[in-house]
């Protein structure tokens, strides 16, 4: 890695003067940042709510889709091996494309707005959930699945009575974690035109309005921080319940 570092650093040809100029600009911009203004706070909060809602809706939809598909894909419950294989490959491809790109594509096809955000987020969140759900099903659900099969249960019996009750709390923990990630992502997504607080942040940055930008960053920071603590709590409680 270190051997690679030196040629790469030279390759990028970072100029020292640009760096110095940028550093010299910091005090000036910091001064503009620190003129705290509360004027835009209501606007920021409504947009923040929009962001959270976009994340919420896309997680709800993807949980439904992922629940259906993950039982088709997981080795222990797959009704058809070939279908499962094809779906697996598709999920891998979807996962490789960064979320931002998905949203960019959705915005290009549906136009600006929250709907494009939900649509764009749907792909990465669903594929994430499918991947983690199938891993859990394969790992934990094996015994109960075999037991129900042995009794002559159908596929629906296996899924509804065998796998879902045993994996209930693990799934909830995964969904909480996924929701946290998705909220963090929706904040960004506004910056590529998908609605929510990111749109405002992008505006502030491009018009050099640093005072409200600082406010916006703080609002985002506090929200994400609280959310992180909340999901940690949920996870802790589910963990103790499982034991």
């Amino acid at each position: 890695m270190i051997v690679l570092f030196i040629p790469c650093a030279f390759y990028l040809n970072l100029s020292a003067t640009q760096f110095a100029e940028g550093i010299a600009r910091i005090p000036d911009i910091a001064k503009q940042f620190l003129q705290i203004s509360l004027d835009d706070l209501p606007k920021l909060l409504t947009e923040l709510l929009t962001s959270v809602i976009i994340a919420f809706l896309s997680v709800v939809i993807s949980v439904i889709v992922a629940l259906l598909l993950s039982f088709v894909i997981a080795d222990t419950t797959a009704p058809n091996r070939h279908v499962a294989k094809v779906l697996r490959v598709i999920v891998v491809i979807i996962r490789t494309i960064p979320t931002t790109i998905w949203v960019l594509l959705a915005v290009a096809s549906m136009g600006f707005g929250s709907m494009a955000g939900v649509l764009g987020l749907l792909f990465p969140t669903t594929s994430f959930l499918i991947k983690s759900f199938t891993a859990q099903i394969d790992e934990a659900g094996k015994d109960s699945v075999e037991a129900i099969r042995a009794l002559g249960g159908t596929w629906w019996h296996v899924v509804c009575n065998g796998a879902i009750p045993t994996l209930y709390s693990t799934f909830l923990a995964l969904i909480a974690f996924n929701f946290e990630m998705t909220v963090a992502e929706t904040v960004i997504l506004g910056m590529v035109g998908a609605g929510g607080i990111g749109v405002l942040l992008q505006e502030y940055i491009s018009y050099y309005e640093f005072a409200p930008l600082l406010m916006g960053i703080l609002v985002v920071f506090i929200t994400l921080f609280l959310l992180e603590m909340m999901t940690n709590q949920i996870r802790k409680r589910l963990n103790s319940q499982a034991r």
Binding site: I29, M110, M115, L213
Partner: protein, 261 residues
């Protein structure tokens, strides 16, 4: 018996209540952002149509044009990973419970790192573009910030998981702080360090792919450029190149991890 019945009923009521809350939240959300389900459903085929008709076939004419941004992105990843792993390593030692020189240092560093981590990466990138102008420099610094936020926390966590006995044994011989680090902590921390740093490299590659969107260089700028010009077939090529690049990097880091650990 009676008690058990009551508990069961309570549980049922709780479950019903959370279900109702959930439905209410969903309805409120749908109302708040004026989410039109019909329009959304009709948007899906439109989107797929857009993906498979406008994007196909990928335009392979100017493949060589994309070599430069791919190399840029890889170089971004290497430089940012190395620099951020060095900085994060120092911060992590100052931040972890068992190696922190002073509790105040720990708390201050922890809050700074948590701030860096919780401000979205694209916001950092956009601010840095304002500072340094369009080009590679803001991209590198945004990736380094991302890396510091991410790695210092993970490094600190793996330092905290270290077996205490070895550290105590070295301490008992009267070793200084630096000797303690070198003899007891670093050897145990090495596997975690290597695997997290490799993971970081994967993340920087993914992230530098999207950096271009705010004008910070890398392959993302090609995606933005081709989409702004409505050359969707070229966009498809760039996206395919990006997927291949990410998969290749994942494969290589996996191999390195297997060999080293």
């Amino acid at each position: 018996m009676n008690r058990a019945e009551m508990l069961a009923r309570q549980r049922k009521a709780k479950r019903l209540l959370s279900l109702l809350l959930f439905v209410a939240a969903t309805l409120f959300s749908v109302w708040f952002i004026e989410f039109d389900i019909m329009e959304f459903l009709s948007g899906i085929p439109l989107f797929l149509n857009f993906l498979f008709v406008d994007f196909m076939p990928p335009n392979l004419d100017d493949l060589s044009k994309y070599l430069q941004p791919v190399l840029d992105t890889l170089a971004f990843g290497v430089v940012a990973t190395v620099l951020s792993s060095v900085i994060a390593l120092i911060i992590a030692f100052l931040m972890a419970h068992n190696t922190s020189p002073h509790p105040v240092v720990r708390v201050v560093l922890r809050s700074i790192i948590s701030f860096i981590r919780n401000v979205p990466f694209l916001v950092w990138a956009a601010i840095l573009v304002v500072l340094f102008g369009v080009g590679t420099m803001p991209g590198i610094f945004a990736l380094i910030l991302l890396g510091i936020g991410f790695l210092s926390r993970l490094y600190a966590e793996s330092i905290e998981e270290i077996d205490k006995h070895a550290v105590e044994a070295v301490e008992a011989t009267g070793a200084t702080y630096l000797q303690k680090l070198k003899q007891a902590i670093i050897p145990q921390f090495m596997p975690g360090y290597i695997s997290w740093t490799l993971f970081m490299f994967e993340i920087t590659i993914r992230a530098s792919a999207i950096l271009g969107i705010v004008g910070a260089g890398g392959i993302g700028s090609q995606i933005k450029l081709t989409m702004d010009l409505f050359q969707y077939s070229s966009t498809a090529t760039v996206v395919v190149i990006m997927i291949l690049m990410i998969l290749a990097v994942e494969y290589v880091t996996q191999r390195i991890r297997e060999r080293l650990l």
